[in-house]
Symmetry: C2
Subunit: 337 residues, 2 copies
């Protein structure tokens, strides 16, 4: 398969193109598995799951499982069921998150709980979570099961932490990192680690791929949090401002607050702590986040993690899979440009 | 240990006394495991879990895992972690159910979601569910994992089914049975089956214990549904009437509707379908359920299942564990007297 992949110059705009192409055949099988296993004789279940899963997104996490398995030399197909399980766990957490946050949109569509009700979203999340474990049992890999069970538990802990602490203006950078590690980076790490385990990779390679996933997940989340303040460019994503409006203390906000004078502090206290917001407040929030350099620092921090992710792959011989995973790390941060 | 157990005459009032005594030492270890493994550095998690788990109840499901394992000759302690996992799965489903149903009380206490919020209940449910799988991975038994993963999925399907169909006055008896099998009996069946698997019992014994659990679970649910209409005695439990008020089509209602004349039908249509209820309606509902013999039929049906549960144990040699499990089946239905 490698021979089919044209060399791609590193100077091009970073994208997941090369990775998607390389992983295409595996991901087609993962997709078929996802569709087959989200089925149920209870009609609401596939309908609701389809709504979210068909909306797609980049399927980053299962892609990570596949790529890690292939980079580690997987020959069989054991990693495919694990990849589908990873996507089910992710989808279950999205369903529960949207209920918990009262989010109105997800992947460009109306959030499932607004169509089928919160009760169905909770229960279909439970269904997908259980299905993930059924798929993992079928692979027969207890270590992979352990990795993804632990990740699922850590994600729940991260979500509860976020729920408890997210409106705290003085949330420390350390606690913020702990939260995004648990709620986002852990599943990236576990997805890559499980893929390596499925490939029966040596311990050091498993650890390297876990580390890659962890750093990549942090880079992604940091950039997402930066983009929620509109990034550094003038062009604002249409969903920018959600974190501000929900009063979530993410790194751009935490750094901006720390670097704010008394006048700006009063602004943050009113808008975030008291949650007394007016329509024009986000514009002002974005200005402060830019003026204080908080956004730039957040993005620089994301770059550090993307570089650390790539460094974690240095133990592997050069080749198309390693290059594709490096592209992915570059892509994670290039989105902020 | 058997020698310590005094013979109990079958003419005494059925109770779980003998079973609790026999399983006491194992259950003390299960309890310690539950307490140790519901802990988390995120304070809300043990606080919320403690609220529900300390309230206790009879710990029927883990008791079933322990008893099945012992009846099947378990020597080691592998079944203890499975029993704790079973209780975690059950607790997770209770947390999610109470959010889904908007229930106000659970185990005689204010429901957790009314204290910590629905979001925390959903996420702590997820935590306990993941913890259950971590515990199962530690036992190293893939077959037990498969049994409990499947059960978790079937429970979610049952809950969604109930959500969709429960206000249907013409819900068929078959669909009602399908719902209570999925949402209640499946976990009883899986709890017993997993215990037998942990004891490395022969296939026929595993199947027998699964069948026992399934029939026992159905007997329990049928009696619960009968008790929700106050049972046959005059004495009404203080929580009686919940199903009626929520408009849940359970067997007493389904049978009463089928046996109702036009006047009673109009009453059901108003109170259940239209959900237009007045305070005195439950008294009238109970009268119809009694007059039509619907309550008696429900309890008779529960008795059939309790007998079938006991019959499923006939392949085992007589002994204290078998007797104790027979007591449990008798106890399940004696509650309706």
């Amino acid at each position: 398969m490698d021979a089919l992949v044209a060399p791609v110059s590193r100077s091009e705009e970073p994208s997941v193109e090369r990775l998607s192409r390389l992983a295409g055949p595996d991901m087609a099988e993962v997709d078929a598995l996802i569709r087959a296993r989200m089925d149920s004789p209870v009609p609401v279940i596939p309908a609701l799951a389809e709504h979210l899963i068909a909306a797609g997104g980049k399927r980053l996490r299962p892609l990570l499982t596949v790529a890690a398995a292939r980079l580690a030399g997987a020959r069989g197909g054991g990693h495919l069921k694990l990849a589908a399980a990873v996507e089910f766990i992710h989808t279950a957490t999205l369903l529960h998150d949207d209920v918990v946050d009262g989010s109105e949109r997800r992947r460009g569509k109306v959030a499932a709980h607004l169509i089928w009700g919160a009760a169905s979203s909770v229960l279909v999340g439970d269904f997908l979570f259980a299905r993930a474990f059924e798929l993992m049992v079928e692979t027969g890999s207890l270590p992979a099961l352990g990795i993804l069970a632990r990740a699922s538990r850590v994600i729940a802990e991260g979500e509860v932490m976020q729920l408890t602490d997210s409106h705290d203006l003085n949330l420390s950078q350390a606690l913020y990192l702990q939260i995004i590690t648990a709620k986002t980076a852990e599943l990236f790490a576990a997805a890559a680690e499980a893929g390596a385990v499925a490939a029966e990779a040596p311990t050091a390679e498993i650890a390297g791929l876990r580390d890659y996933g962890l750093k990549l997940g942090l880079a992604f989340q940091l950039v997402d949090d930066a983009l929620d303040y509109g990034g550094v460019s003038e062009r604002l994503g249409k969903d920018a401002g959600d974190d501000f409006r929900e009063g979530k203390a993410t790194l751009p906000l935490i750094l901006a607050v720390a670097r704010s004078g008394p006048k700006e502090r009063a602004f943050w206290t009113r808008t975030i702590e008291t949650q007394d917001q007016h329509p024009e407040d986000f514009k002002r929030a974005r200005e402060i986040v830019l003026e204080t350099g908080a956004l730039e620092s957040t993005i620089a921090f994301a770059h550090e993690h993307a570089e650390a992710a790539k460094a974690a792959l240095q133990r592997f011989s050069p080749g198309p899979w390693r290059e594709a995973l490096c592209d992915l790390a570059d892509f994670a941060v290039a989105r902020a440009a």
